[in-house]
């Protein structure tokens, strides 16, 4: 070992061990991150077990045939100029990310990407079942297990989002609410692409929280990529690029305005604007990165990115209109009707509270009575999140998550023309996040007033700062 005359080690190959120089090592049970990781593992296990348990008993959904059929898109990515990516019904019908995910899931479980023929909804179930459109059971279960894992990961992501914005109690509550929600649970037990969307949105919220905590281009690009991937799964997340860029623009103006008092000519940056490391530029890049990702992962768009993207949007509108004709009872006339149905479903058939109360064997009457609780909690949480965002300012993670939740839910409500259950999933995700924040914030307020609670002095948790070290005056009083 190389040392100086005073016995100091000098045999360093990197500077990594210069970093944790000051704080004393903490006991392992004092590590907040460790506890959070343990809770995350517990939530993951609970969620995965819950979802996996119901795979066999969940009925077949014809859309599973379509998503399993398109699993071959994953390998067709290696042939981006091949027939799969020509202008045709299936390629237009759904963006491909959900198919890639199913394809990865099948490959990881030893199933090939070539599966059943695509279900034709125009024909009878008998025609489809007799002619190879019904998926093999092994493929179907593999696809469902894929979503079991993704759904459990979404629960973990939600836990971390809410824990970051409030505390672990809120995070646990949000995770449990997501697990308890029957709509989400049902979709997590089907081989569809909706679980991927839920996970993408939850990860986006988590990335935005960390981006606002500590702005980095790597996270900003990741956020843009997630928006793009979300769009290349179910279109509506692309709308999220607008508020993100809008908030970025506001921050840019804020930075420019802030620089006016400081002789702008002497500041880094062009014409008084902040330099590129400012988070405003990072958020402004979101639409570009999202758009690039959307095109990059979807070879169908390559020959004419803008023209074909417009074709896709028009085609989706036609499909919505067609669904509306085929299912007149599910037809939605306007956003008011859409909001009303959302309320009805989420406070009734798809209520997590009711589902949980039924599960533990309480009388159905109690479940029915308390069914709207999750939505009320979510609304209260949205209010709390809004207040926190207002208090913490433009550059707070609270505002970012508020924007994501509000815009995604509003986009779904405004654009919904037919009330298929899966369309409510992003709203459910927003609900559990805000409800968790409400639980966390209220829980923390209650905790503060608990009589007789042992309060550890904060300074006792650091050992290495020598006695007599100066402290800021503002901190002297504790």
């Amino acid at each position: 070992m190389a040392t100086t005359a005073n016995g100091i080690r000098t045999d360093l190959s990197s500077a990594n061990d210069l970093r944790p120089a000051i704080p004393a090592p903490r006991r392992w049970w004092q590590e907040r991150r460790l506890w959070h990781a343990l809770i995350a593992v517990a939530l993951f296990s609970l969620a995965f077990g819950t979802y996996l348990h119901g795979n066999e008993t969940t009925g077949f959904h014809p859309d599973e045939s379509r998503w399993l059929n398109r699993a071959h898109y994953l390998v067709d990515l290696l042939d981006p100029f091949g027939p799969t990516w020509e202008d045709q019904y299936l390629t237009r019908g759904q963006p491909p990310v959900g198919s890639y995910v199913i394809g990865i899931g099948l490959l990881l479980q030893g199933r090939g990407p070539e599966t059943n023929l695509a279900w034709d909804f125009r024909r009878s179930s008998a025609f489809n079942t007799d002619n190879g459109m019904f998926p093999l059971e092994a493929d179907r279960q593999a696809g469902r297990r894929t979503n079991n894992v993704l759904g459990a990961l979404a629960v973990v992501a939600v836990f971390y989002v809410v824990t970051n914005l409030s505390n672990a109690a809120g995070g646990i509550a949000a995770g449990l609410l997501l697990i308890a929600n029957p709509l989400q649970t049902w979709h997590n037990r089907l081989a569809l692409a909706d679980t991927t969307l839920t996970l993408t949105l939850a990860l986006l919220a988590l990335v935005l929280v960390h981006l606002m905590r500590r702005p980095r281009w790597s996270l900003a690009i990741l956020a843009g990529v997630l928006v793009g991937l979300g769009g290349a799964n179910k279109f509506t997340p692309l709308a999220l690029a607008v508020p993100l860029a809008g908030l970025g623009f506001l921050m840019l103006v804020q930075s420019w305005w802030a620089g006016r008092a400081l002789k702008p000519a002497t500041l880094r940056g062009w014409k008084g604007l902040p330099p590129l490391r400012d988070v405003s530029w990072m958020l402004l890049s979101t639409p570009l990165v999202a758009g690039f990702t959307f095109v990059a992962v979807y070879p169908y768009l390559w020959p004419d990115p803008i023209g074909r993207a417009l074709i896709l949007l028009r085609f989706r509108q036609q499909e919505m209109a067609s669904q509306s004709r085929i299912y007149p009872d599910r037809n939605i006339a306007d956003p008011v009707e859409s909001a009303r149905r959302t309320w009805d479903y989420l406070t009734g058939q798809w209520s997590g509270t009711q589902s949980f109360l039924d599960l533990i064997g309480l009388p159905a009457k109690v479940g029915t009575m308390l069914a709207p609780l999750d939505v009320w909690l979510a609304l209260a949480g949205l209010l709390v999140l809004g207040l926190l965002a207002a208090a913490k300012g433009l550059r707070s993670p609270h505002l970012m998550v508020f924007a994501v939740v509000a815009v995604e839910s509003a986009t779904v409500i405004v654009s919904m023309k037919t009330d298929f259950e899966r369309y409510y999933l992003p709203i459910v995700l927003g609900n559990v996040i805000t409800a968790g924040i409400f639980v966390g914030v209220v829980g923390s307020l209650v905790w503060r007033v608990v009589p007789g609670r042992v309060r550890h002095p904060r300074s006792s948790r650091t050992a290495t700062m020598p006695a007599g070290a100066p402290v800021l005056k503002e901190h002297a009083g504790g």
Binding site: N6, I8, T10, L12, S13, S14, A15, D17, L18, R19, A21, I22, P23, Q30, R32, D79, F81, G82, P83, T84, E86, D87, Q88, L90, L117, D120, R122, R123, F127, N164, H210, R213, R214, P215, Q254, A258, G259, A261, L262, K263, T266, L267, R268, P274, A296, P303, P305, I311, F315, R395, R458, S459, R461, T462, P466, A469, P470, L472, E474, H475
Partner: protein, 490 residues
């Protein structure tokens, strides 16, 4: 650090006339139009797909008909009309005709009879369009098991997405004929028509044949250019690794001893960045040389620091300069941009680090090397992507895109490269241990220096994570640090 230049002296290091940022802007200005051209040029060079083939069409004739009508039940007729209507909704005009004939017909005779039918009664969306498909079934009198069938596509019927002549033949042989042999001509008509509309929507389209020119480009891109790009990119990665190691070794030069927490922290972080002024301001606030207003957000200069570190003095001086026009204090809003005002002080500190052998003097040269070769490589890749797109060469295109991603990553890494030398890291370790020993012996100056060092080295963790690091820091200190760095307190 015996020979210490004063903060007012110009930095003693080589500065290229064109900064990296300017080079990046130039590169972007050159490359973006090139890539845009590469994408949009393709539309002119490859066969265009024409009108939207999934738009609904209307057939002038009924979708299904039987002659005599009694050949099909009302339910069969309704089902057949639904199927042909499904085809029309997605741009495929199709008609099904079930016709009574006197005697059994051969396949050729059925085909000829169907062709005559089309000639007499065209199946098309507009007169003369010849864009329809006839599904013709001939049922001999009293011999339903001898029925025969034929498909007659119009001259302009194809392309119909997944429906090809081969698929029509397969449907005829595998679906229709077996049912006809059983005498189920109505079922044969329904199943056959259902498979035709199925194949049109759900069958994979045939691969578009390449022209001779495209074939040449395809082979060139896949078999010559793609391996070449892969090799060049691997070489670029090797160059990046070599340049990183060479920069760290700094030609074997020794490093000067460290006597400042800012220098030590810069070495530990590997760069002289915004954490340093923020840490210095916090130290100045601790020492009372900068003062926080009651709200904890407005900063005003206090008494001039006496005997403090030159870097801290330079930060204090700059803060004082900036506060003068604003009435002697930095307003709370302006704190957001305060960190942008310390570029000269950071440049000065960096020059000290380089002249002391703590930061590598090789970095600018290495960066220029990386940027220059990266730029050249990107131009080469762009010239590979164009023939790959035109020649529909998957390998060329995928390798080109991956190479671009690798080069972008390596260039990013180059910009954020760790600048400390191995010798500098050794000196930082010595400084750190010495200070820790002194602090434990009750030296207050060493304690303060260590705290400043910690505030800089672990700044992001202190602000963005709820860790024990921040236990001796109050809310205002964290908020000031967050505000200066554009972060958000966890």
């Amino acid at each position: 650090m015996a020979d210490r230049p004063s903060p007012s002296q110009p930095p003693m290091r080589f500065r290229p006339r064109v900064s990296l940022g300017t080079m990046a802007a130039i590169a972007a200005a050159l490359l973006i139009p090139l890539l845009v051209l590469a994408f949009f040029l393709v539309q002119w060079l490859v066969p265009h797909e024409g009108d939207d083939r999934l738009v609904g069409v209307k057939l002038a004739q009924p979708g299904a008909a039987a002659s005599p009508p009694s050949l099909l039940t009302a339910d069969d007729m309704k089902a057949l009309n639904n199927i042909t209507n499904d085809g029309s909704l997605f741009g495929m005009p199709m008609a099904v005709r079930v016709v009574r004939v006197s005697d059994p017909m051969t396949e050729e005779e059925t085909q000829a009879a169907a062709a005559r039918y089309v000639a007499a009664t065209p199946i098309e969306t507009t007169p003369g369009a010849k864009d329809g498909l006839l599904f013709y079934i001939a049922v001999p009198m009293n011999q339903p098991k001898a029925a025969t069938a034929a498909f007659v596509p119009g001259e302009h019927f194809f392309p119909q997405m997944g429906l090809t002549q081969e698929r029509l033949d397969t449907t005829l042989n595998d679906i229709v004929t077996p049912r006809l042999a059983l005498g189920n001509y109505a079922d044969a008509a329904k199943q056959g028509a259902a498979w035709v509309v199925y194949d049109q929507l759900f069958g994979t389209m045939p691969r578009i044949p390449l022209t001779h020119g495209q074939q040449v480009l395809n082979h060139l891109a896949n078999w010559v250019l793609a391996p070449l790009v892969a090799m060049l990119t691997a070489g670029y990665a090797g160059l990046a690794l070599w340049s990183g190691r060479a920069a760290r070794q700094n030609r074997g030069l020794t490093a000067a001893p460290i006597d400042s927490p800012y220098i030590a922290a810069a070495v530990a972080r590997g760069r002289a960045d915004d954490a340093l002024p923020a840490g210095a301001m916090l130290a100045l606030i601790d020492a009372g040389n900068l003062q926080l207003a009651a709200d904890g957000r407005t900063i005003a200069p206090g008494p001039e620091p006496d005997g403090a570190d030159p870097f801290a003095c330079a930060i204090w001086e700059r803060t004082r300069e900036l506060s003068e026009p604003a009435g002697g204090a930095i307003p709370r809003g302006a704190v957001l941009r305060l960190d942008d005002a310390f570029a000269p002080q950071l440049a000065y500190l960096e020059s000290r680090l380089i002249s002391g052998g703590l930061f590598s003097s090789q970095i600018p040269a290495m960066n220029r090397l990386m940027w220059g070769s990266g730029f050249l490589l990107v131009l080469i890749i762009a010239s590979v992507l164009v023939p790959s797109l035109i020649g529909r060469a998957a390998a060329g295109f995928i390798v080109g895109c991956l190479a671009l991603a690798v080069i972008a990553g390596l260039t990013w890494w180059t910009l954020h490269r760790y600048r400390s030398t191995d010798a500098g890291i050794r000196e930082a370790r010595i400084w750190l241990t010495t200070q820790q020993q002194a602090a434990l012996a009750g030296d207050t100056a060493a304690t303060l220096a260590l705290r400043t060092y910690r505030d800089i080295v672990r700044q992001e963790d202190m602000v963005a994570e709820r860790t024990a690091l921040r236990a001796d820091r109050g809310t205002h200190a964290l908020q000031i640090m967050a505000r200066l760095r554009g972060m958000s307190v966890a």
